[in-house]
């Protein structure tokens, strides 16, 4: 499939002014590349990662998680710094990068778990429903669920999504293209426990094929979704859905190992060139009529800040001062359990059952927020991670008793994970580190983040429900992770928020920069509120919608 695409891949000279340069080939960039090249435009996608394919993916937990094979690491030349508040010094993160994403063609859609929730109408207008929340940038989106619904449906059918309707679903114009994946033991137990406490569990929607679709095979349940690339091409990443179709148009070049570091504007304030380092570290410049940033909610903001100039001293497209701000990770916390019989959660996809009973904010609880619960192994399906952190507080960390726990519990454990809202807090931000530099001598990405107290209260509330579910399901033993502020986020949202008011947002409702007319920004950074977790489907729906508007504007000569 990919080989056919490569055979016809366009190649554009640097000096040719292509219609669009797209920075990033991930969940959004892949969709934009495919849609715009199909619409007849010349497209160059600049992707900093390599073009890994199914045969390149492994089940090597050590390489993938501990050497940062796809995510990069400080040791590998991609340091990121972290601080919980602007008053603290930021330090280089020595574990996983705080803004966690995959550097590879297809971006994080390659290594994510493919949980694929739609947002609901309330996610777009919650500010109007609840009113102001002081100390936050809590706002409505400039678009509604109804406007986005056709694009959610396009995502379902264009990439291949498995699921079935749930009791609280927002209206959908077309059913899921594929039935849900087979339930796992964690799903059965979750369903039993959730029903016992009066909840309404449902199948988990996944961007993983339960049956063959568009020439790709069904999932073979190998169990290595989270963090890994799919060896079967059953995970509906843009690597195996959108990108081959973009390449097949003959108008889209995917230029890999190309790290963009500056967007250059002319005297009129329009982008005319995109500067990047090629695989040899040499500086290159691709000319373009317009640029689209889809580099994820961390790197998109960083690139705008790196593109500061005399004309744009605070960074490109940043007259609002909001580029990089209002970073949202979604809030999370887990509860764990062991059961008397084997679940073997190391097999198959992460998650087969969820409960969305607590999606809405309930003012009776005394704090803002809502979320969902899901049944999964999380990282405890992987041997090293399980041995590191799958141990309850009352079991020793070494010795014979520890070993007995490992032998007993690896096949018998499961987790219920709470996935919930993050309030947009201005000090939670992506910015340029003043001291630390990466392998290209560019200022490192600095993450400032502390979950809002309401976010912590929300996940604490959900964790109580998770414990009730696990106990009602008959667990032998249940234990909790501490409810503490997160220091790592794979959901990178809100840093170039969408809005009608140029003073309060970075892009308009069609993802065009308020300030630079031939700059579009579409990825997690466009989010105004966080949703309840699992943002990828919304990122892709936004990308389909944005592509339609961008193509229309370009055809009218308005880009």
């Amino acid at each position: 499939m990919m080989a056919e695409g490569e055979a016809v891949m366009a190649q554009y000279p640097l000096r040719q002014e292509v219609d669009f340069v797209i920075v990033g080939s991930g969940a959004a960039g892949g969709v934009l590349a495919r849609e715009l090249s199909r619409a007849g435009f010349d497209v160059v996608v600049l992707e900093q990662g390599r073009w890994r394919k199914a045969q390149d993916f492994t089940h090597d937990e050590f390489d993938v998680f501990f050497q940062g094979e796809m995510t990069g690491s400080a040791a590998g030349g991609y340091p990121q710094t972290f601080r919980a508040s602007p008053d603290e010094p930021a330090v280089v993160a020595q574990n996983a990068p705080p803004a966690l994403y995959a550097r590879t063609v297809g971006g994080s859609s390659v290594h994510y778990s493919a949980n694929f929730w739609r947002m609901r109408p309330i996610d777009f207008n919650e500010r109007s429903r609840l009113g102001e929340i002081s100390g936050t940038g809590f706002s409505d989106w400039p678009i509604t669920y109804e406007e986005l619904e056709p694009y959610y449906t396009r995502v379902d059918w264009e990439i291949g999504v498995s699921g079935e309707p749930g009791p609280f679903d927002a209206p959908r114009s077309k059913p899921y293209p594929l039935p849900p994946l087979p339930v796992k033991s964690s799903g059965v137990l979750f369903e039993k426990g959730a029903r016992a406490i009066g909840l309404h569990p449902q199948s988990a929607p996944k961007a993983i094929l339960s049956k063959p679709f568009n020439g790709r095979p069904a999932c073979m349940h190998c169990g290595f979704c989270l963090g890994f690339g799919c060896e079967a091409n059953a995970k509906s990443s843009t690597l195996v859905t959108m990108i081959p179709e973009a390449v097949a148009t003959g108008r889209c070049e995917i230029r890999t190992e190309s790290t963009v570091f500056r967007l250059v504007t002319d005297a009129g304030g329009r982008i005319h060139e995109v500067l990047y380092y090629d695989s040899d570290g040499n500086e290159q410049a691709q000319r373009c009529k317009s640029a689209i940033l889809a580099a994820n909610g961390a790197e998109t903001a960083r690139l705008l800040l790196l593109s500061a100039s005399e004309q744009f001293p605070e960074g490109l497209a940043n007259s609002s001062g909001l580029v990089g701000k209002y970073l949202m990770f979604n809030s999370h916390v887990a509860a764990h359990a062991v059961f008397s019989e084997q679940l073997n959660e190391y097999k198959s996809v992460q998650c087969t059952r969820i409960a969305l009973d607590f999606y809405d904010t309930d003012e009776q609880r005394g704090f803002y927020g809502g979320g969902g619960l899901d049944a999964r192994p999380f990282l405890h399906s992987y041997p090293i991670f399980f041995a590191m952190s799958g141990v309850p507080p009352d079991v020793p960390r070494w010795g014979a008793e520890y070993k007995r726990w490992l032998e007993y519990a690896f096949t018998r454990n499961m987790t219920v994970l709470a996935n919930a809202t993050s309030l947009p807090v201005e000090s939670n931000a992506v910015s340029l580190d003043p001291d630390v530099r990466d392998k290209f001598d560019l200022p490192a990405l600095r993450v400032t983040y502390r979950d809002h107290d309401d976010d912590l209260a929300t996940v604490a509330f959900l964790q109580d429900r998770a414990v009730e579910i696990l106990e009602a399901a008959g667990a032998e033993k249940v234990w909790r992770d501490p409810v503490i502020p997160q220091t790592i986020g794979p959901h990178l949202l809100g840093t170039c928020r969408m809005g009608d008011d140029p003073a309060q947002s970075v892009v308009d409702r069609y993802h065009r920069s308020h300030e630079v007319p031939n700059l579009y920004i579409c990825d997690g950074s466009s989010f105004v509120s966080s949703g309840r977790g699992q943002p990828t489907m919304t990122i892709q729906a936004l990308a389909f919608r944005a592509a339609e508007h961008i193509a229309r504007a370009a055809n009218r000569g308005e880009v």
Partner: protein, 186 residues
């Protein structure tokens, strides 16, 4: 890296989704630009650790995952993983390792080293150090040597995976476990 910053990061865990991932004292990045250690076969002598250090490390690994009815760190060849690690991605931590082991050994009577103590003696000494950064580092390396793919030098004959009941297959079909066995058609 200064001692202070090393201590700080050894004691600071990240939290991804609050799941305790990279639990405290994970020393992932003493890495410092090195590549992963390579696999080595059973008969190969150690390439990077001297005999006394290797004996201490093997003894500590054996205390973390003891042998018994089922294989432990020794049978899984954890020491071979450690040897590769300290020649590769952990090479920046060799001085820290040497200082840490010296501190432990100098607290023992006479010329004893940790490896010379009997089982109870080793457990008592380790119990005094199991909250410290050296133990955290060696605990992590023991787990990686036990449970990572054998190509990294440990987990011989999948001894670690067998201990857990993890079977590394290319794929599976339902039922996956006890509780879903009656849930699937056909």
């Amino acid at each position: 890296m200064t001692d202070k910053s090393r201590r700080e990061f050894l004691q600071t865990g990240g939290s991804l989704a609050g799941a305790g991932w990279l639990s405290s004292q994970l020393p992932m990045l003493l890495a410092l630009g090195q590549t992963a250690c390579s696999a080595r076969d059973a008969a190969q002598p150690l390439a990077n650790l001297d005999a006394a250090t290797a004996a201490d490390l093997a003894a500590i690994a054996r205390q973390i995952i003891p042998s018994g009815d089922t294989p432990g760190a020794e049978e899984a060849g954890v020491i071979y993983f450690m040897d590769g690690a300290f020649g590769g991605f952990m090479s920046g931590a060799k001085p820290f390792l040497a200082e840490g082991l010296a501190a432990i050994n100098s607290s023992l009577p006479g010329s004893d080293r940790f490896a010379d103590l009997d089982d109870a003696g080793q457990q008592a000494v380790l119990g005094e150090h199991d909250q410290g950064p050296l133990f955290g580092m060696l605990h992590f390396l023991t787990l990686v040597g036990m449970f990572a793919m054998p190509r990294h030098g440990g987990n011989r004959d999948h001894a670690g995976w067998q201990l857990l009941g993890f079977i590394h297959n290319h794929g599976w079909q339902p039922p996956f476990g006890h509780y879903d066995q009656d849930m699937h058609d056909g």
